[in-house]
């Protein structure tokens, strides 16, 4: 027979395990690689495909935000005086409004891992996306140049100019390091 102390210890241990389980997903480690941006996207839906679409887009939105976000902070603070004399109470109300606009063209944002769980009539999905920057951009440019249709469309975009600038900077850096 177990003593009440043993039972209590077991219960505490079980509670710790359940508590640590969190959302039930495995680890959310994000690797460190200067050539890539990484992001997890999570979503749930009664439709499996919709859950995957949302999760993918969420992850892409995170990457897009990291790449190009225009933050517009609107902050208002005001104080209101209520009462008078000694009973005067200063009530400070502080409100904060933030707007963030993101617009980015992502070329080569690949899904690397995906997981799903089935809840009660609902699918929970999470997707891990990687986005190449730095050296990977050079390879991507070569690939894009092979696809003429896509390339013509892409060349007209701001995204092309940005990528081209980055690749040029990177190539100049490589030259300066004697890598050619």
């Amino acid at each position: 027979m177990f003593s009440w102390k043993q039972v209590s210890a077991l219960l505490i241990f079980a509670a710790l395990i359940i508590g640590c389980a969190g959302s039930g997903w495995a680890t959310r480690d994000i690797p460190q690689d200067p050539n890539y941006l990484f992001a997890w996207g999570e979503a749930e839906s009664r439709q499996l495909q919709l859950a995957f679409n949302k999760a993918e887009l969420n992850a892409r939105a995170v990457i897009a935000r990291e790449l190009e976000t225009k933050l517009n902070n609107l902050q208002k603070s005001f104080a209101e005086e209520i009462g008078a004399g000694r009973d005067m109470e200063l009530l400070t109300m502080y409100t904060e409004a933030t707007k963030a606009v993101t617009s980015a063209q992502l070329i080569g944002s690949k899904v690397r891992k995906q997981e799903h769980k089935e809840g009660k009539e609902i699918y929970k999905v999470r997707v891990f996306i990687e986005y190449p920057i730095g050296e990977a951009n050079s390879a991507l440019m070569a690939q894009i140049k092979r696809n003429q249709n896509l390339y013509i469309r892409f060349r007209a975009s701001e995204g092309f100019k940005e990528l081209d600038d980055e690749v040029r900077k990177y190539e100049e850096y490589k030259k300066s390091q004697g890598q050619y």
Partner: protein
Amino acid sequence: MNLSSRGIPVVFVLIITMSTGLPRSYPRWFLQQSKTGCPDLVVGYSRSFKNRDSSVDYAFRNGCVNYIRQKHTFISGGQAFWDTEIGAFWLGSDIEETFDTARVEPAMEHLKVVDTFYSDHMTAVLLSPSECRISSTMKSRQGLSGKKTPSWVSRLPKDGRYEYALGVAQSYYYEPSSWLEAERSARKSLAGALFSIVRSLEKQAEQYSAVVDESLSVHLANIEVVERWRETGSGIYYVLIRMPR
């Protein structure tokens, strides 16, 4: 009939499995298409009709459409979500695939049936544009139950020659619809990986909300299906595709 205590659950499981009507095994060429050794293969699907020839005929036509789609597809349109503190809401999608339908008839002239798979609910044909002989091993059946889920279902392969994408679909009433939806979802995922424009507007005041919009405009060429898998427990269909870099 006198059933032992062990026999009852076995019979019960058997009845449930049979009542779903889904095949418990598929030919290896269906599950591991890229390992057949022939280039440019394509699979066509159809519901299984009483007349087997009709099923094969429908599957053949579907295979020809899939063949043209794999050769060249243009994916365009967009989708948007409204993200709030209580969850994300779908605002709609107009993503569509277009391909040259005029090329389907000529494809029907030169594609040949390499092998056929027939089950109660689905007929699948393997088509090839060239002379192709697949081994008896590739024609043999591979069961799904008890098999370990392939690693590519959760972690996509990575190599220098191809871009990979995974498509998923839940179980629809007609099995071919599930496989076709998984293939379509894989093409959409591949298009998103190659080129997408993401725009979002987030607002944080007393409550957080964001509208996220994604636009696609991508040509896909020379896609091939690498592998297929069906999770017997959850009934989820997976298709792994790739496109040369």
